[in-house]
Symmetry: C2
Subunit: 324 residues, 2 copies
């Protein structure tokens, strides 16, 4: 492989001159530039991006950190970010934090130190101070870090209220909740929405709430436990779709008919909900729009263009299918 | 933020000495080392990984390039690579090539130029020459690039033979095939396996083979077309699970009973097959083992340790569920 020295030698100029041509900085005479470009072409020289980024402090890559790559919500989000990035000429490198703060910090260090231009992150462990200390544009998505930072989230509480009210309207008398991970903002908001609708009911108690940790297998276990303790449950609002899918699986195992004996509503609106039997009623997030808006906002921030809006709370929509 | 110069100044040594301490190279006296370490600690100095990698040409990050992050097969594979990497102290950055050679080359450039230590890739566009020119350890997974290169794949043809024979054994008289992407090695091998079992049948013709492009939606359209032209089809072997899920969806739409009127077998063994109704009979790959073996092999190659085995063709297993 040719080095910058080889180029300099062939062009009969100094390495510094080649560097000026490569980085389009400082004065270089036309003849000299042509000689350097000819040498670069003949030697098929590819400038080392790492060395270059030391000068330019930018590449055309952004980082996307998600807490769970196995959850289709995040792969659909990644797809949207990547489509938008690709149209704008950016690469996306994807990191899976497992919602683990140590792993998350490890990836933030890798991304930062390798000079990505910006980061989109769904985090429930980062603080506003940590984000500011990173000294590069960061957009938080799906999970709000702090009100002052660029953020794109959805109407979690309203969506949860709609889901629970819908179950009531369908005639459910005992509505349980499979909640998302403790401490994650959107899980708390969805839980609040559920509680707002049912807390005043005479039957209501904490024992109708189980922890699904935003995970399908955890939800399977939690639902088994719930239906053992409360066989009278006839409605479940799960805080995301994959937990709702886990609950449907349990109902099948136990011979409980959906929706005749048990109605289930999820949250997210992942594509998978359409291939299940029964198809899942869910509070659909505009997943693609979330990813697209985040990427567009990040590009604005990276280009130091004026970004008028740095906080979006997108609407969600109840999609009725045959699980209710 | 502190720089290496600040550290040198506080420790009363040269920048070169600090660099030697940081990179653990060359002689540094014990007292000097202690002074430098104290200054690093007091200034909370974080060495710039990019600058360091110029000397060391390594970080502790590997790249994983997959063709379709929306296919759970690849997210499960990524999960396995990441678990293994994490145990060994490596970060994994994930890139989605869409099976597009230009995008793939873009990500390879990014990964290479930012000094990842090695790459695991599932590619159907790379050539052996391109891999060799990359001058770093590369392990190909799921899709073989060239026989001489480190590779981990599965018994695709045998699996397809087993799937098709199983449908015959179940009494299917007209067995169709939803094939994977043209030109992708494993799609061709699975197609060959199917053909080997049915090519001699009197009913057999090319019109029983439709293109699903390893994509759920494409499979939905292809299956609709297939069953319109050949309503007599009573068995389908789909070359991956998400295409089989697409076919099940079509059967539901058309009111065709599974398995009474139509049996369906997939390939991959993704976790999703267990939450469907009916659960999907499939040729299961040892997905976790694939990812784990690839990562372990890559670590061996990166450490320039002797790697005894650089070609694995793992067994697949027929898992019978109620779609057949």
């Amino acid at each position: 492989m040719s080095s910058i020295k080889d180029v300099a030698k062939m062009a009969g100029v100094s390495v510094a001159t080649v560097s000026r041509v490569l980085n389009d900085k400082g004065y270089v005479g036309r003849d000299t530039r042509e000689k350097v470009e000819k040498a670069i072409s003949e030697l098929n020289y590819k400038p080392n991006e790492v060395a270059r980024s030391l000068f330019k402090k930018q590449s055309s890559t952004i980082g996307l950190i998600v807490p769970d790559i196995m959850n289709p919500f995040f792969t659909e989000l990644a797809r949207a970010v990547e489509d938008t990035a690709s149209n704008l000429g950016y690469n996306v490198i994807l990191c899976n934090s497992d919602g683990n703060s140590k792993k998350e910090q490890g990836y933030l260090d890798v991304l930062q130190q390798n000079y990505v231009n910006g980061i989109i992150i769904s985090s429930n462990t980062l603080t506003a101070e940590q984000v500011k200390a990173m000294n590069m544009p960061v957009v938080s998505i799906d999970r709000e870090i702090s009100r002052g930072l660029p953020t794109i989230v959805v109407e979690n509480k309203n969506g949860a209220v709609a889901a629970t009210q819908f179950l009531k309207k369908k005639g459910c008398k005992r509505i349980a909740h499979i909640r998302g991970t403790h401490g994650v903002v959107n899980a708390e908001e969805r839980f609040e929405g559920y509680k707002e609708v049912v807390a005043a009911e005479e039957w209501y108690s904490d024992s109708y709430i189980v922890d699904g940790d935003y995970d399908m297998q955890t939800s399977v276990e939690a639902t088994l436990d719930l239906l053992k303790r409360h066989p009278e449950v006839d409605g479940i609002f799960a805080a995301n779709d994959i937990m709702a899918i886990g609950a449907i699986k349990v109902a099948h195992q136990l011979g409980i008919k959906i929706p005749e004996q048990l109605s289930i509503v999820g949250f997210d609106g992942i594509a998978l909900t359409n291939v299940l039997t029964p198809e899942l009623t869910t509070i659909a997030q505009p997943i693609y729009e979330l990813g697209e808006t985040a990427m567009n906002m990040l590009v604005g921030l990276m280009g130091q263009q004026p970004v008028h809006e740095t906080y979006y709370k997108l609407e969600v929509t109840l999609i009725e299918k045959n699980s209710t």
